[in-house]
């Protein structure tokens, strides 16, 4: 059995979501190749070649692959699929975008967001906002799977795989127009050891930043938000933690002015330690919090800043 992992490229390197997906892939088979797609991705391919356990790295470059548009990625990957029994990608927005498309072309039922590999055809995945876990066995000859990165440890560095060039498809019937990426020097939400998240209570974008940013800087944390805070424009869409946003599992998650709706809990309840600051003692967030402070964030957060020194 051979497995192809589609890398999550980040400029000249690959994100640790790739390393985590390699760990999942290695539970399926010892023969794991990594595909790096994009334009000007040689350095990223060299980075992927250093992941321990990787057999070889395939590098597919073309102008059409520059922004990982689904049509071009699908055409590239289906061209390689003959050599593989399973194709895995991290469950990032890119992976979620192109993997079902690849699956349909291969006439395979995709398996989304696995959190455990039981055997090489059986997997566990959360359903109903994580309120149930489904163990499913695939009857398809080929498996197309997205992997929830927070559920797997990152494969170590230390490999020395070869890098081989493969054909990259041209753009399809959709064209890249522009992008507006949120710039930040803070750690990435999915990979951060500490996450501080703000909710509707923050009341405005100015207040959100005035409260959350200094706290995040002090803790070296990433900043997240509830859907309500994103919908109201206090924080960018990319900050949303939850069932339909990002899934995080840091060592420490601090929820500030967030009620703890099931959709929010779905994105953070695997955090090691959860702290909640909320003025309502009955807020559902306290049912999952290891440590709770009942109080107004306007009082509690400055005290916390002071206590952190």
């Amino acid at each position: 059995m051979a497995v192809l992992v589609i890398a999550d490229r980040d400029g000249d390197t690959v994100r640790d979501t790739t390393h985590k997906t390699v760990t999942a892939a290695l539970k399926l088979s010892g023969d794991v190749d990594v595909l790096v797609i994009g334009q000007g991705s040689k350095a990223a391919a060299d980075a992927a070649a250093k992941i321990a356990g990787v057999r070889k790295v395939l590098l597919a470059e073309s102008a059409g692959l520059g922004h990982q548009l689904a049509e071009a990625v699908e055409a590239t990957v289906t061209g390689l699929a003959g050599g593989y029994d399973a194709i895995l990608s991290p469950a990032t927005t890119d992976g979620k975008n192109f993997m079902p498309r690849i699956a349909a072309k291969l006439d395979v039922a995709p398996i989304s967001d696995i959190i455990e590999v039981v055997s090489n055809d059986t997997f566990v995945r959360p359903i109903y906002a994580g309120n149930a876990l489904e163990t499913i066995q695939s009857g398809d000859a080929k498996k197309v799977i997205t992997v929830r990165p927070t559920s797997f440890d990152a494969a170590a560095e230390g490999g020395s795989a070869s890098v081989e060039t493969v054909a990259g498809a041209d753009a399809g019937k959709a064209a890249f127009v522009s992008e507006e990426m949120v710039k930040s020097d803070r750690p990435e939400l999915g990979a951060a050891k500490i996450v501080v998240s703000g909710g509707r209570a923050l009341g405005s974008a100015e207040e959100f930043h005035a409260v959350m940013d200094p706290l995040a800087d002090k803790l070296g944390a990433a900043v997240g938000a509830s859907r309500a805070a994103v919908d109201a424009g206090y924080a960018p869409n990319d900050y949303q933690v939850g069932q339909t946003g990002k899934v995080v599992a840091p060592a420490l998650y601090i929820a500030i002015g967030i009620s703890g709706a099931i959709q929010h809990l779905a994105g953070m309840k695997d955090s090691k330690i959860i702290v909640a600051i909320n003025k309502d003692a009955d807020a559902p967030i306290f049912q999952v919090a290891d440590y709770g402070i009942v109080g107004d964030y306007k009082v509690v957060v400055p005290e916390l800043m002071a206590a952190l020194g």
């Binding site: 690849i102 499913i136 949120v182 990319d238 949303q240 959709q263 952190l308």
Partner: protein, 254 residues
């Protein structure tokens, strides 16, 4: 142009799903069911396109067809969409909970019949959390896709879609016909007014069977079991920030 909006009947988003004791699935008996919230957003956007509201030019869309694949009661879901402003409905009756691949194949058959210029659907159903049908339908049709839409502009034979992606926003232009899946920030769906609910009762809902489409809907995945996730127990309330910091230091996370 014509827009097709697939809508799914799912557990209401306010209800916490409970696993059945025999581990065969989630208990849906006597549970409130509603239209998948993302599909409400898709219906709302189609209606705004038809109404020429916001940035949508008047006359952009002339007909909205909604389709649901599911149990007989999914007609209520279709009726909701008709009350919001869709023109007619189609139920493909199925008592089996079909996998995204089967749903996509049925939707492809509907598209072949209806020939819409745009399929507008939810990015994810909140029961199965698959986030797959739109992308799969686009593949089967060989159409371009634009997933996780936060803004859609239809003009010049293209859908220019701003997508909510990791890291921020990405805009792409997909030539029509295309499949667009919608995200939370696209709009806030309306509540249907009483007169519109009454009017919707007169709108047509065609009912068909899965067998009418002659596509292979056999399951590919076997559900071995459905279990409850490990529960977190509530911890303790601390008096103040100083006590919190002390606890976090002891726990080794600071």
């Amino acid at each position: 142009m014509k827009v097709l909006v697939p809508v799914k009947r799912v557990i209401d988003y306010n209800v916490k799903a409970r696993v059945k004791a025999d581990q065969t699935g989630v208990d849906l008996a006597n549970v409130k069911m509603s239209m998948n919230p993302f599909d409400e957003i898709a219906v709302e956007e189609a209606v705004r396109m038809k109404e020429g509201k916001e940035h949508h030019a008047a006359g952009t869309v002339s007909e909205i067809v909604v389709v649901s694949i599911g149990v007989t009661q999914a007609q209520e879901t279709i009726r909701t969409a008709l009350a919001m402003g869709a023109d007619r409905g189609l139920l493909i009756q199925s008592d089996a909970d079909l996998e995204p691949l089967a749903v996509a194949k049925l939707l492809k058959a509907v598209v072949d019949e209806e020939k819409p210029d745009l399929v507008l659907l939810g990015k994810q159903s909140i029961d199965g959390d698959n986030n797959a049908v739109g992308q799969m339908l686009a593949a089967l049709l060989d159409w371009p896709q634009a997933t996780f839409a936060g803004k859609i502009v239809l003009a010049d034979g293209k859908a220019t879609v701003t997508r909510e992606v990791d890291g921020g926003l990405q805009t792409l232009a997909a030539s029509l016909p295309a499949v667009v899946s919608v995200d939370l920030r696209l709009n806030t769906p309306r509540y249907a007014s009483l007169p519109n609910i009454m009017k919707a009762k007169k709108k047509e809902i065609a009912v068909k069977a899965v067998a009418d489409y002659g596509v292979d809907t056999a399951p590919r995945l076997k559900v071995v079991k459905v279990t409850a996730p490990p529960q977190r127990s509530a911890g303790i309330k601390v008096a103040d920030a100083a006590e919190l910091v002390a606890k976090l230091k002891t726990a080794g996370v600071l």
